[in-house]
Structure formats: structure tokens, C-alpha cells
């Protein structure tokens, strides 16, 4: 290809589109990578914010669908509802309680909002895109510390909630803030521990390594099922979504930590919640469901890169993220809220011991499989290593269901109740009927 001599020197060089861009270009030592980052930043930020706005609509529509209602259907047949909400929130009066701690009251929404936005930076969302200036990796910053960065920044999000509760000088808000700090610290531990088995298999915390490993050896949801389950439960608690929405429990605390907030400051908390949901969904998809890779289609997941591969993998990633977002909403409109002591009991007495035990089991299993000489990479096209772990997980899940069920849901449905158990249940029922009659009799 002939290029005119007047072009900048960078374009005259022959650049391999499959290789990362060299560190020389228009702007001296930082050139193409900086421009790439800025372009990606603008696009991702815009898509993220518009997506979050549309999520509020999706939440209402899905809740309406689940409850057999119509949902928002006025502003442009309902599609303009997020816009109308945004305009309303900008127009409303900003209230500032007299007794509030003013600087912290103003700082709190920002402290909830900023970590929620910045965590997205390390999540790879598609296959690299080859351009004439060099390869563009579809991740804002592929940090070597990977998801540790996400855990670290997500742990800062709690400050926004706690400060909002404290600075409002309102007892309901304070209770919400206290609940949230206890809840998020508790579940953060289970969440962090449930990612340790991934470390044992992948050998690295970098998200691109984790995605590549899953492309070769199968999704971690199959090889680390229990960890995936614990991670999803903890992520629900970390994002303050039902059944763990204790910090803003409407029926107990009015609106919890954001009782005193109005207009756009309230809206910032709302956006932060949805942004956290998006990030948690993306993290579930990346850590346990193969990230942007398409299962069983190795051609599209590997080099040489092409624009259509980027498009397909982006679609796959969005599909996974949207599925988990739907899952979030599905759970919210299905399950009731936990009691506070149940929440703490679940976090500290069940999830934490379970995840520590699971780390030991997986460490032992990998040690045993390595000692037996089973290769970690697929052997004659068969992922033997992953299949062994899958068998182990199926056994563990069965065991967990039987133990954790405590003879309540699954066992009565799958088998006849034993005679002694039946007698006990009947006795309990009879006692409660008698008690009911006694109280109603006293009422008359």
C-alpha cells in the first residue's frame, strides 16, 4: 500500500493489527494506547450509564410481568420512563435536614457512586479488535491484580451507605447504615473466600487469565459449583438486593440509609445500586461462566482476531450479563426479606465455614489429581481434569442439599416421610392450632 510522505511517521510504519500497539505515535511515548483507552472509556461509560437507566425500566417491567400487571406504559409506551424519571429527579427540590452533618451528607452519595462506576475498568468484555494501529484489547485496564481490584473497590462502596446513614441524623437512616456495614463486611469475607478455589485452578488473579483458562478447561461453574453458588449469594448481599436488602428495608426503616435524601442525591444511590448489580453480574459471568468466550466454538475465542469475532463475543458477554441481571430481578420479586439474625447466621455460620471447607476440598483434589499425573490441559481433546472436579462437585452438591435441607423441602418431595417425623410434624401443627384457638378464644 502506498502512503503519501506527508502522513505522520506512525502511519508510515507497517503495524501488525494482531499485536498490541507500540508505545510510539502522535503524542510521543504515550500515543496509541492512550487514545485507545480514551475511546474505550467514553464508549463504555456511555453504554454503562444508559444501560443502568434502562435497567430501572427493566426492573419495573419484569416486576410487573411477575405480578401480572402492565408496568410503565405511558411515556413513549413506557420506553421513555427512565428519561422522565431523570428529568423529575433533576427538577425536584434538594432537601438538607437541619441537624445533618452537612459535608458528609453531601459526600455520601458520591462515595457510593464512584466505586460502583470504577470497578468496571478491569472486566474484559469481548475478544480483542484488530485495527490498523495495532490490536485493541477489549478491557479498560488489564491490571495484574485482576479481581482483587474489584473486591477492594467494592469494599469502599459501603462507606457511602454508612455515611449517608450517620450524616442524616435520623434514627432509621442510622439503623440502615449500621445494618449495611455489618452485612457488607460479613459477606465480603465469604465472597473473597469463594474466589480462592479459582486461584487454585487458574493460578492467577488476572481476569484475562481466568477467562483464557475457562476457554480451555471448561467453565468454573462446572468445576467449582459450590464456590459459584456462594459467590452469587454473597454478591446479592454485597449489592443490598433482596433477599438481603436490610439496609433499606422499606417496611421497617422507611427507606433505610437514604430516608433523608431527595432528588438527584437519592438518584445517585439508586444508580450506584444498579451499577453494582451490573458489575456483580459481569463478575459472575467472568469468573464462573467463561467471560466473553463462546462455549464449544474455539475458532471465535482464539487468534487470529477479526471484527466479527469481537462482535460475537461481545454479544455472548452481554447475553450472560443480562441473564444475571434478570436473575437478580427474578429473585427480588420472588423471595421475601431475611430477618437480620438470619442474615448474620447465614453469613457467618453457613457460608463462611462452607467456603473454607470447600477451599480445603478443592486444594486436596487438585493436589491429588496433580500427584496422579492428570494433565490440567485437555488430554486428547477431553478435559479429564475438569471432569474429575465436576464429578466431585456433583457429589458435594448432593451432600449439601441433603444436609442443608434439614428434611424440609427436597426430602419430603422426593420420599415418603418417616412415621416418627410425621408424628412430630402433626404434633407441632396440632399445638399451633390449639394455641391459635386459645388466643382467638381470649379475643372473644
Amino acid at each position: 500500500m502506498l502512503l503519501p510522505a506527508s502522513l505522520p511517521p506512525m502511519l508510515q510504519r507497517i503495524v501488525d493489527p494482531q499485536a498490541p500497539p507500540a508505545d510510539v505515535g502522535f503524542f510521543g511515548p504515550i500515543g496509541v494506547p492512550l487514545i485507545y483507552t480514551i475511546v474505550k472509556l467514553l464508549i463504555v461509560f456511555t453504554v454503562y450509564m444508559v444501560g443502568v437507566a434502562l435497567l430501572t425500566l427493566a426492573e419495573r417491567k419484569i416486576s410487573a410481568w411477575i405480578q401480572d400487571r402492565l408496568g410503565p406504559n405511558r411515556v413513549i409506551k413506557g420506553w421513555g420512563q427512565p428519561l422522565a424519571d431523570g428529568v423529575k429527579n433533576f427538577m425536584k427540590e434538594e432537601t438538607l435536614p437541619d441537624a445533618a452533618n452537612k459535608p458528609l451528607f453531601l459526600l455520601a452519595p458520591a462515595m457510593a457512586f464512584i466505586p460502583a462506576l470504577t470497578v468496571w475498568a478491569v472486566i474484559p468484555f469481548a475478544a480483542p479488535l484488530p485495527l490498523r494501529w495495532g490490536r485493541m484489547d477489549m478491557v479498560l485496564a488489564d491490571l495484574p491484580i485482576g479481581y482483587l481490584y474489584i473486591l477492594a473497590l467494592a469494599s469502599l462502596g459501603v462507606f457511602g451507605v454508612v455515611l449517608a446513614g450517620w450524616a442524616s441524623n435520623n434514627k432509621y437512616a442510622l439503623l440502615g447504615g449500621l445494618r449495611s456495614s455489618a452485612q457488607m463486611v460479613s459477606y465480603e469475607i465469604a465472597m473473597g473466600m469463594s474466589t480462592v478455589p479459582i486461584l487454585l485452578l487458574a493460578g492467577d488473579v488476572s481476569l484475562s487469565t481466568i477467562v483464557r483458562q475457562q476457554e480451555q478447561n471448561g467453565w468454573y461453574v462446572l468445576t467449582l459449583t459450590v464456590a459459584c453458588f456462594i459467590f452469587i449469594v454473597s454478591a446479592f448481599a454485597e449489592t443490598n438486593r433482596l433477599p438481603f436488602d436490610l439496609p433499606e428495608a422499606e417496611s421497617e426503616l422507611i427507606a433505610g440509609y437514604h430516608t433523608e435524601y431527595s432528588a438527584m442525591k437519592f438518584s445517585l444511590f439508586f444508580i450506584a445500586e444498579y451499577a453494582n448489580m451490573v458489575t456483580a453480574s459481569a463478575l459472575m459471568a467472568t469468573l464462573f461462566f467463561g467471560g466473553w468466550t463462546v462455549p464449544f466454538w474455539h475458532a471465535v475465542n482464539n487468534a487470529p482476531w477479526a471484527w466479527w469475532k469481537t462482535a460475537i463475543t461481545l454479544g455472548a458477554f452481554l447475553f450472560k450479563v443480562l441473564f444475571f441481571l434478570f436473575f437478580y430481578m427474578w429473585i427480588r420479586w420472588t423471595l421475601p426479606r431475611f430477618r437480620y439474625d438470619q442474615l448474620m447466621s447465614l453469613g457467618w455460620k453457613i457460608l463462611l465455614p462452607l467456603t473454607i471447607g470447600y477451599v480445603v476440598v478443592i486444594a486436596g483434589a487438585t493436589l491429588g489429581l496433580d500427584a496422579l499425573g492428570v494433565p490440567r490441559t485437555p488430554w486428547h481433546g477431553w478435559p479429564v481434569y475438569s471432569l474429575c472436579l465436576l464429578a466431585l462437585n456433583i457429589g458435594l452438591i448432593g451432600l449439601l442439599f441433603v444436609v442443608a435441607d434439614r428434611g424440609r423441602l427436597i426430602s419430603p418431595a422426593s420420599a415418603r416421610v418417616r412415621a416418627a417425623e410425621l408424628a412430630r410434624l402433626r404434633a407441632v401443627r396440632q399445638r399451633s392450632t390449639l394455641a391459635h384457638e386459645a388466643t382467638s378464644g381470649a379475643g372473644d
Binding site: N101, L148, V158, L174, A182, G192
Partner: protein
């Protein structure tokens, strides 16, 4: 890289020192705790600038994200009353004395502390660590020495922490509770364990 690097390094360093000064002079415990979070965050940024991303992430995760949240929790739960009444202020002479002592200690450290090794030694060691980190991932340069060379110290520390946890549980337990757990009551296994947690 160098100019931007220096700018960031001194920016975060200055913010850390300034926040630390503000932190020790606040009377309200909540404000002090928040300034401490700022200090810890800036130190994490300095770690990242020194190519120790793992230490930086752990700094934010453990100190800023977990320990300071628990501090805030306790401060809010106890609701320590009026800042003016609980502040540990003992008059101007104490301020001047404490400040003077800090300056003397700092000056002594800067003047008297000799460099036992030429700075190049540190630089070479640091460079080799950074190369290793780029080759094997960010966690391995910390994890490998921890679980090989310093294994004994690591295990002893974990036993110490376990002892502290056991001590905290013993101190926090209610004295007047009878030994029979509420879980032994028939038909209330779920609520029994829950009531026990309170």
C-alpha cells in the same frame, strides 16, 4: 513516564501526609476515621506506583474496606456523645509538646539514619522483583516467600490471630446463659440457632 510518575508520587504522598495531620487534629471520631481512610488509600496508591499492586489492593481491601468500616460501625454504635467532651485535648502546652516531639523524632530519623547499603542494591532487588511480578503474576512474588522462606513466622502469626479470636469470643459471651442450647428444643431447629446468634 517519569514526569507523570513523579507528579503522581508526590501528589499522593502529600495528600497522605496532609490527611494524616488532619486525622490527628479532628475532634469528631467519624471525621477522624474518614481522614484515616484517605491516608490508607493514598498509601495504597503509593504501593501501586512502586509496582506493588498486590500490596496496594490488599491495603485497600483490608484496611480501608474492612477494618475502617468496623471502626466506623463501632463509633456509630457507641454514639460517643459530644466531640468536645470526649476529645483527648489537654490544652495548648500539650499540643506544642507533642508537635515538637514529633518534629524531633522525624528530624532524628532523617539526619541520623544512615543508609546501610548503597541505594543501587535496593534498586536492583526491586527491579528483579518487578520483572518477576510481570512474568508470574502479581501475587506470586509475595506468596512464594511467604509460604516457603517465612512459613514458620506465617504460621505462628496465624496461631496468634486464632488465639485473639478465641479470646474475643470468650470475652464477648454472655455469662448468665445456661449450657443447654436453645437448639435442643423440638421443632425449632432453625429459629433456635438464629436466636443463639443474637
Amino acid at each position: 513516564m517519569t514526569l507523570f510518575y513523579h507528579f503522581c508520587f508526590y501528589l499522593f504522598g502529600l495528600v497522605a501526609v496532609a490527611s494524616a495531620c488532619v486525622f490527628v487534629t479532628r475532634k469528631s471520631p467519624v471525621a477522624a476515621a474518614l481522614w484515616l481512610v484517605n491516608v490508607l488509600f493514598c498509601i495504597a496508591a503509593l504501593f501501586v506506583l512502586l509496582d506493588a499492586q498486590f500490596i496496594g489492593a490488599i491495603q485497600v481491601l483490608v484496611y480501608a474496606g474492612a477494618i475502617m468500616v468496623v471502626f466506623l460501625f463501632v463509633i456509630m454504635l457507641l454514639n460517643l456523645g459530644e466531640p468536645a467532651r470526649i476529645a483527648d485535648a489537654r490544652g495548648t502546652l500539650w499540643y506544642i509538646g507533642a508537635g515538637g516531639l514529633a518534629i524531633v523524632v522525624l528530624a532524628a530519623m532523617m539526619v541520623r539514619l544512615p543508609h546501610p547499603l548503597p541505594i543501587e542494591t535496593f534498586r536492583i532487588a526491586a527491579d528483579s522483583l518487578v520483572t518477576e511480578a510481570r512474568a508470574t503474576g502479581a501475587v506470586a512474588p509475595v506468596a512464594v516467600p511467604l509460604f516457603t522462606e517465612y512459613l514458620l513466622a506465617f504460621e505462628v502469626t496465624s496461631v496468634l490471630l486464632l488465639a485473639a479470636v478465641v479470646g474475643a469470643v470468650v470475652l464477648g459471651r454472655k455469662r448468665n446463659e445456661s449450657d443447654a442450647g436453645p437448639a435442643s428444643q423440638p421443632g425449632t431447629a432453625g429459629t433456635g440457632t438464629a436466636a443463639h446468634a443474637r
